[in-house]
Structures are given as C-alpha cells and as structure tokens.
C-alpha cells in the first residue's frame, strides 16, 4: 500500500459522492503555497501534469487585480506552460465560464489531454459533454482529468464587489486575497489588513441559480480539493478515480505533496459532510419550492417544453 493510500479514509458517499478515499494535503513547494488559496493542491497537480506530459493543456481561471475596469474579474484561460499555472492560483468568488474555452483548448491550442479545474456545476457540464457531446465535436476523448472544487455557492461580480467594497469597506483594487471559512467572508488587503463579515451577510448576494445545485464536493470529478475540513494552509482532497489516485501517488512518492490523514486534523471530514448535507437539504427544498411555482427542475427543463 502506498504512503498515500495508508492515510486515506472513506467518508459518507451519500454526501461526498463516490470516492476511493479522502485525505488532507499540501504542496511541498514554497512558491506554490505562497500563491495558492490553501494547500496548493490544484496548482501542484496542474504543474506536475503539464511537466510530466500527462496533460498538454489545463483550463483554469485568472484574474487581474489591477484590471483598470473590473479588478478581480476572472476569465478562463488555456495554460500549456507549467510556469504559467501559478498565475491562475487562488479561488475566485465569482463566475468564470471555464467550460467556454474547452473547445478552444482542443482546437486552436490543439490539445489532446486536457485537465480542467472547475466548480461542481462545471465538472458536471464537462461530464455531460463527454456522455452526450451533441455540440462537442472531438472533445470527449481529449478530457484527461477533471479537478473539482468544493463549492457552496457563487456570487455575481457586482454582488462580490458590493460585499468587498460596501460591507468590508475595502476597495477592490486593494484586495490581495479573498476567502470563505470559519463562518466568515475574509478580505486581505495588499497592506496586510484583514476585514471580515459574517457569512450570513453574504447570502443576499449569492447567485440564485446556485440554489438548485445539490453537489457540494464536485461528485463527478476525478479528484476534488477544498479548504473545508483541513487546517489553514492545507487542503482536503477527495480522490474518486484510479487515474487521479495514480497521479497523486506519484506526486507523493516524488515528495511533491505532503499528506496526512484527515482524521488527525481539525476540523476534519465531519465538517465537509455537515456542509454537504446542509447544501443538499437547503437546495433540495428550494427545488421543491420552485416546482410549486411551476418553474422547471434542473436537468428537466426540456420536459416542460
């Protein structure tokens, strides 16, 4: 049994989705950790995959905090050079249409082994594109790895801006990092200042379409990463497919990842499961309420036409 498999545990698959195991991890590379949101898992996997030729392109989102018009507004990119991966590091708390560049990756970049990082809904979109690729000519077999991100909901850009500027009192241009954790929305500024608001205050700014999603852990990913459940500077990783496990095993063997059992850390897997349950119950209720109003159920819009 590999070092990684020794620390892996299984959680509740009803809540986390089917998986081979869960663990907590961080990158061993300082440059990655410095740029990353938490443990730098997504960046580390992408860099490793590109360097080893396992992927020839990765889809991620980049933001420009200094954009003259819309600072911190993300846009999707296709990265083929491992040195450029860290430009995309860090969580973005607003929409970024990553799937929109999927075809571009296999067309104008000519990629044959694409990895994509995405929210649970984006991972679902790509899986459907693989199963029923009506408008996805020659895309399905080019998908090499899907990295999911644990996600409770997302915010429209103007909503996020209101949270940062009006509620936290920080100019968007001063923001160095944003985070959600420990029941709060956090804004770090370039000067090292930290502002927080209780998470409850962000609810009015959540994107409504997120409220019909019951997928917290990107249940159809190859592997999922997120901060929830692990201590600061570490990430919780859920491995679902053999392909992902093999890749992570290699990374651990080569000393690129430091791994621990999630049972040894706080707050631990229980929190991930609790929040997954919360998202599922709350949003299932929302779906039922919408149905009563005559609105379509997600995935069944065509049935109403």
């Amino acid at each position: 049994m590999s070092e990684l498999e020794e620390v892996m545990v299984k959680g509740d698959e009803e809540l986390l989705g089917e998986h081979l195991g869960v663990f907590t991890a961080r990158s061993t590379e300082r440059r990655i950790l410095k740029a990353a949101q938490d443990g730098g898992i997504v960046s580390a996997v992408m860099i490793y995959g590109l360097e080893e030729g396992k992927f020839d392109g990765v889809i991620a989102s980049v933001t420009d905090p200094d954009d003259p018009e819309e600072p911190w507004k993300p846009r999707p990119v296709v990265i083929t050079d491992p040195d450029e991966v860290l430009e995309a590091a860090g969580t973005k708390y607003t929409y970024c249409p990553n799937v929109s560049v999927l075809k571009e990756a296999v067309r104008r970049y000519g990629c044959e082994r694409v990895a994509m990082v995405g929210t649970p809904c984006q991972i679902r979109a790509v899986r459907k594109a693989q199963l029923l690729p009506v408008g996805m000519r020659h895309v399905p077999d080019k998908i090499e790895l899907l990295i999911g991100i644990i996600c409770m909901e997302n915010f429209p850009y103007e909503g996020l801006k209101t949270m940062v500027e009006q509620l936290c009192g920080v100019w968007m241009r001063e923001v160095a990092k944003m985070d959600i954790g420990k029941g709060k929305f956090w804004v770090y500024t370039d000067d090292g200042e930290v502002k927080t608001i209780p998470i409850d205050e962000t609810h009015p700014f959540e994107g409504e379409p997120c409220h019909v999603c019951t997928d917290y852990c990107a249940e159809l990913s190859d592997l999922t990463a997120g901060s929830v459940g692990s201590p600061d500077g570490w990430s919780t990783v859920i491995v679902r497919t053999e392909k992902a496990l093999e890749l992570l095993n290699e990374m651990v063997e080569q000393g690129l990842l430091e791994v621990k059992s999630i049972e040894e850390v706080k707050p631990g897997l229980g929190l991930v499961e609790k929040l997954a349950q919360a998202k599922k119950s709350k949003n299932q209720k929302e779906i039922e309420e919408r149905k009563e109003l005559g609105l379509p159920e997600p995935g069944k819009v065509h049935e109403q036409l």
Binding site: Y95, C96, K128, M136, G299
Partner: protein, 235 residues
C-alpha cells in the same frame, strides 16, 4: 442485425460527414449494423423496409418527392431518427422563404419532426461524430432511459435555439455561467458576459446545440456518467 437506412432530404450531407468523422471507428460502427440504404455511400436506389432510419435535412413542403420520401418512412422504418438540426429543429432553414429563380416555389421548409412521427431527434449542425456514435450505441443496446431526452426533443416543440436558452434557462434562474453553451455553439454565436450567455442573433442558426448541451436543461443522470464516462470507457 439491425437494418439501418440513411436518408438525406433537403440537407447538406454534413451530418453524414460527421458520422464519417468517427474516422477509424467508422468501419466498426458499420459492422454493428446492416446498412441497407445510403444514397451517398452505396448503390441501393430505393429505401427498403428497415429497423432504423437516420434522416438528415429538412422537408420541402413544395417538393412532392421530398414530402413523399419523408412520409413513406413511417411505413418503411420501425424507428425514425431526425439526425441534425435541419431534421430536428429546423435550423437556419427557418429563414427559407422561396423566390429562388431556379425553383421559385420551393419556400416551405420544415423539420422532419413537423411532418412525420419521429422517434428521436439529435440536434446540432452537425451533431458531433461522438454524439452520433453514442446515440447509435445506446439505441442498439436498447438503453431507452438515456434516449428519453432525444425522444422528447423529437416532439419538435421549439427550435431549442439561442432564444430558448434565454427563455428556459437564464429567464428561469437556471444558468450558473459555466460556458458550455458558448463552447457548444457551432457558429460561435454565444459569448458569456458577466456569467451569462449573450446570443448574437446574426450568427444563431437555431441548431439546438446550446440548449441541448446545457447541463441544466437535460441531465442524463449521475449513474449514466459514472458507468459510461468515468468507468474508463473513454480511455
């Protein structure tokens, strides 16, 4: 073995080319069926009785042979599949309006779904080779549950075009801005702006690819994805 016919009505042959774009797998696909009619590929000159017919192209109501050819399929074929947007949703043929010098009266072009009782419709202009292959596999394996969306689309209720994407996804509070529609659009008519699609109507041809590909409109079920995609089948 399933007797398969391929019929082209008023179309461009692009859907057949798409099927041919399965490249090295084309021969394997054709090995799974008995191809009994395909005017572009073989010398059979009349559509025989068959189990499945794939039909590409629209029906020209002003062209007697075309209407007859379409109608006869109800007698000849057990299962009728509208392949591609012209047969499924109408496609850009919705803009046809006659008065062409060489056949001024050819003006009414409608999708097959409006003329005959179609069992399944696969939109797209053209549908991706992998989509045609998947559809045929599901059909041959009798996985009717997964074919249900295609059966629903065959009712031909609307074009499933860029407008429908707005009316039935964005307007219904369903769009989470993933960008699938923009990637799926064969004319690149869609741009995602501030997390929602903007459809350039000058480029939208009403092919149905965006609506059909959207993960919020039609969801095939997690189990199907785990079995057919994540089960390692794609490798």
């Amino acid at each position: 073995m399933v007797r398969l016919a391929y019929v082209q009505l008023a179309g461009c042959c692009g859907c057949l080319v798409s099927l041919a774009d399965t490249y090295e797998r084309l021969l394997d696909i054709l090995d799974e069926v008995e191809l009994v009619y395909c005017q572009t590929l073989m010398d059979e000159r009349e559509v025989p009785e068959c189990d499945v017919v794939l039909v590409e192209g629209a029906v020209c109501l002003n062209h007697e042979e075309c209407v007859e050819e379409a109608r006869e399929l109800e007698e000849k074929a057990e299962t009728i599949v509208a392949l591609g947007a012209c047969a499924s949703t109408g496609n850009f043929m919705r803009y046809s309006r006659g008065n062409e010098q060489s056949a001024p009266t050819h003006e009414a072009f409608v999708p097959l779904t409006e003329v005959v009782d179609v069992d399944y419709a696969v939109p797209g202009c053209p549908p991706a080779p992998e989509a045609i292959e998947r559809f045929l596999t599901l059909l041959l394996e009798g996985k009717t549950e997964l074919l249900e969306p295609f059966a629903k689309l065959a009712e031909g209720k609307t074009e499933y075009c860029g407008c429908d994407l707005m009316y039935h996804v964005v307007n219904k509070n369903m769009c989470m801005g993933c960008g699938t529609c923009a990637a799926a659009c064969p004319t690149r008519a869609i741009e995602v702006v501030d997390g929602r699609p903007v459809v350039n109507e000058d480029r939208c041809i009403k092919c149905g690819a965006c609506f059909t590909q959207c993960p919020r409109t039609i969801w095939p079920g997690d189990e199907a994805i785990k079995e057919l995609v994540m089960g390692g089948e794609e490798e």
